[in-house]
């Protein structure tokens, strides 16, 4: 198994380089002139301004040169400067990453818990009404455009019934807790500010539900399938014969084994959650990487687009690696060549 892990780790730098190269190629074979977004259309017939901007942003060099410079500065953690915010893309992303992570982790927890429950119920009541309902509910989640369900749920729960707050991570007048982790829920607890904590949680509920719903289907489908496989086995019959209660059989005996393949699915659901974050952060005015990506593409801010694409790809790659390795540890039957 260690050889498998080592081989996967060796492939990582190559895949990362591939990601960087593709992101660079995509953003540099562009039809639109990046100069327009730098100096604005009005200055485009002023040769002095154009020459200055070219030199300033390194656009006077050849493409291979630009590539080497970009990769070189990436190695020192420098993602270049955003054309829109005029700040380091790396810094922009670092400021916004905790917001997205807090949202994605909350969504992952919610999606997994509900997904596992639905999967168990569906397997227990196979081919009956509860099974069909659980599967339909999960399938709707993966067919919903999050930017729409977010809109509708926001309208219902914050405008119509006033149960949950509007968009944003906190109310407009609340000051953010001092940054330790960047997660408002944790940071407010660190300084003992319970009212800010409650506010952060209530603001998190709606976007996390919308996002979590998208991955419920993946999780519940896997749980249902592995539960059905497990429920036929002798040791389940033995547990029932011993007189174990039905919940105990389902949770302690069946689910424990059914969860192993589910771990993989939960890990891979990360990709869907990134997609969801990109599309729902705008709706919820969530100041994360997703809304940054949308703003960057809207204003054709190429350094920022490159940075976001590279960070997203890297995050995706690392989660998949962690999932695969975790799976190898959890299930001792797996031996990779």
């Amino acid at each position: 198994m260690y050889r498998y892990i080592i081989r996967r780790l060796i492939a990582m730098p190559l895949l990362l380089l591939g990601i960087v190269s593709i992101a660079f190629l995509i953003t540099h074979f562009t039809k639109g002139d990046p100069l327009i977004s730098i100096i604005g259309e009005r200055q485009m017939d002023n040769p002095v301004v154009i020459a200055a901007a070219r030199a300033r942003w390194g656009l006077d060099r050849s493409l291979p040169e630009q590539y080497l410079i970009y990769v070189g500065s990436l190695l020192t953690g420098d993602f270049g400067t955003s054309l829109r915010t005029k700040q380091g893309v790396g810094r922009d992303l670092a400021v916004r990453l905790p917001a997205t992570l807090e949202l994605v982790i909350a969504a992952m927890l919610l999606g997994s818990l509900v997904g596992i429950t639905l999967g168990v119920v569906a397997a227990r009541y196979r081919d009956r009404a509860a099974d069909h309902l659980a599967r339909l509910f999960a399938l709707i989640g993966s067919s919903l455009p999050v930017f729409w369900s977010g809109l509708i749920l926001l309208f219902i729960f914050s405008v119509q019934v006033h149960l949950l707050p509007g968009p944003g991570r906190l109310d407009a007048r609340t000051t953010a807790p001092p940054i330790v982790t960047g997660f408002y829920t944790l940071d407010s607890l660190f300084v003992g500010d319970l009212s800010t904590f409650a506010e952060a949680i209530t603001h998190l509920i709606l976007p996390a539900c919308v996002l979590g719903w998208t991955v419920m289907g993946l999780v519940s489908r896997q749980v249902r399938a592995s539960m059905l496989e497990v429920l036929h086995q002798d040791y389940i019959v033995a547990a029932r014969a011993k007189g174990a209660s039905e919940p105990r059989v389902l949770v302690n005996h069946a689910l424990r084994n059914a969860l192993i393949p589910t771990l993989t699915v939960i890990g891979f659901s990360f990709a869907y959650l990134i997609t969801g974050a990109v599309l729902s952060e705008t709706i919820f005015s969530w100041p994360g990487v997703g809304s940054y990506a949308v703003d960057a593409t809207r204003s054709l801010d190429y350094p920022a687009i490159m940075g976001v694409t590279i960070v997203g790809g890297t995050a995706f790659l690392l989660t998949n690696l962690a999932t695969d390795i975790g799976y190898a540890f959890v299930d001792p039957r797996i031996r990779f060549r």
Binding site: L15, G18, I19, I22, A23, I26, T27, F29, T30, K31, G32, L139, I140, S142, S143, L144, P145, F147, W148, S149, L151, I152, L154, F155, V159, A271, I274, T275, V278, L279, T282, I283, A293, V294, A296, T297, R298, L300, Y302, I305, M306, V308, T309, G312, G313, F316, L317, N320
Partner: protein, 280 residues
């Protein structure tokens, strides 16, 4: 023998013909016929003002009107004319490119295989939406470019699928027999291997269709796809987001996307049951 009727019906009805499959089929037929014929329907104009602005649903405007007083229901139905052809173009091109490259990779092997599959690996290591956004931003916003971007994002899935299929079928005895009989390599691939490789591709393509429609709407929602006044679903939802308190503006197009994604998912499930009797 009153109880015999349902039992007989169950025996005659094929196993794959379930309620979801019927529902999925109805949804698909509905949207396809809307896309083909909506121009002749006796409904409000999709581009012109036909009443008051931002009017809630009533007897004349079943789904209300938007900021420019256009009928939301009519615009939602016209949206099928954009979303379905885009979905078809993306899936057809992605399957054509992916299946060809995947078949070559699996059949030829060696360096060509390695080169194609590394490209597949790297492309698949981006979250799809980010890659689609970067490509569209780079070649310029618009429906046509968003379609191209989605083809770039989707083909590797089919390459991976096709390659795995070819590798599996290649080992079968009838292929060995064909080679022994002196068939040329292209003939072995096209006549003896490929015909057995299509089922999973067809199933996935059906299921992916809904997801492509959803992704196209996402790109339009961000502002990279359709632009006003096109009645495209994602574009309409972004108009709805700007008129947050008039919930009906986004309601129709959202339901349309949901129904297409759900419907094709159901259909794909049914198709899998037909084509692969081993599952279930």
């Amino acid at each position: 023998m009153a109880s015999a009727a349902p039992a007989l019906a169950a025996a005659v009805r094929p196993r794959w013909l379930t309620t979801p499959v019927v529902l999925g089929g109805l949804i698909a037929v509905f949207w396809i016929s809307v896309a083909l014929t909506v121009g002749w329907w006796p409904i409000h104009d999709a581009f012109l003002a036909t009443g008051g602005r931002l009017g809630p649903p009533d007897a004349t405007h079943w789904l209300g009107t938007d900021k420019l007083a256009r009928d939301v229901l009519s615009r939602t139905l016209h949206g099928a004319q954009y979303s379905l052809p885009i979905g078809l173009a993306v899936i057809a091109s992605a399957v054509a490119i992916g299946a060809t490259l995947g078949a070559i990779a699996g059949f030829v092997g060696g360096l060509i295989d390695a080169a194609i599959m590394r490209l597949v690996d790297v492309t698949l290591s981006f979250p799809a939406i980010l890659l689609a956004m970067a490509v569209t931003a780079s070649i310029g916003p618009g429906l046509r470019n968003a379609t191209i971007a989605m083809i770039i994002v989707w083909w590797p899935n089919y390459a991976r699928l096709m390659r795995a299929q070819v590798l599996a079928v290649r080992e079968r005895e009838h292929v060995e027999a064909a080679i022994a009989a002196g068939a040329s390599a292209p003939r072995v691939l096209v006549r003896h291997i490929l015909p057995l490789c299509w089922s999973p591709i067809l199933v996935n393509a059906t299921m992916d269709f809904g997801q492509v429609v959803l992704q196209a709407a996402s790109l339009s929602f961000i502002g990279l796809g359709a632009s006003p006044p096109t009645p495209e679903w994602g574009q309409m939802i972004s108009e709805g987001a700007r008129n947050f308190y008039q919930w009906w503006i986004a309601f129709g197009p959202g339901m349309a996307i949901l129904s297409v994604a759900l419907g094709f998912n159901f259909l794909g499930d049914g198709l899998r049951d037909i084509l692969d009797p081993r599952t279930q």
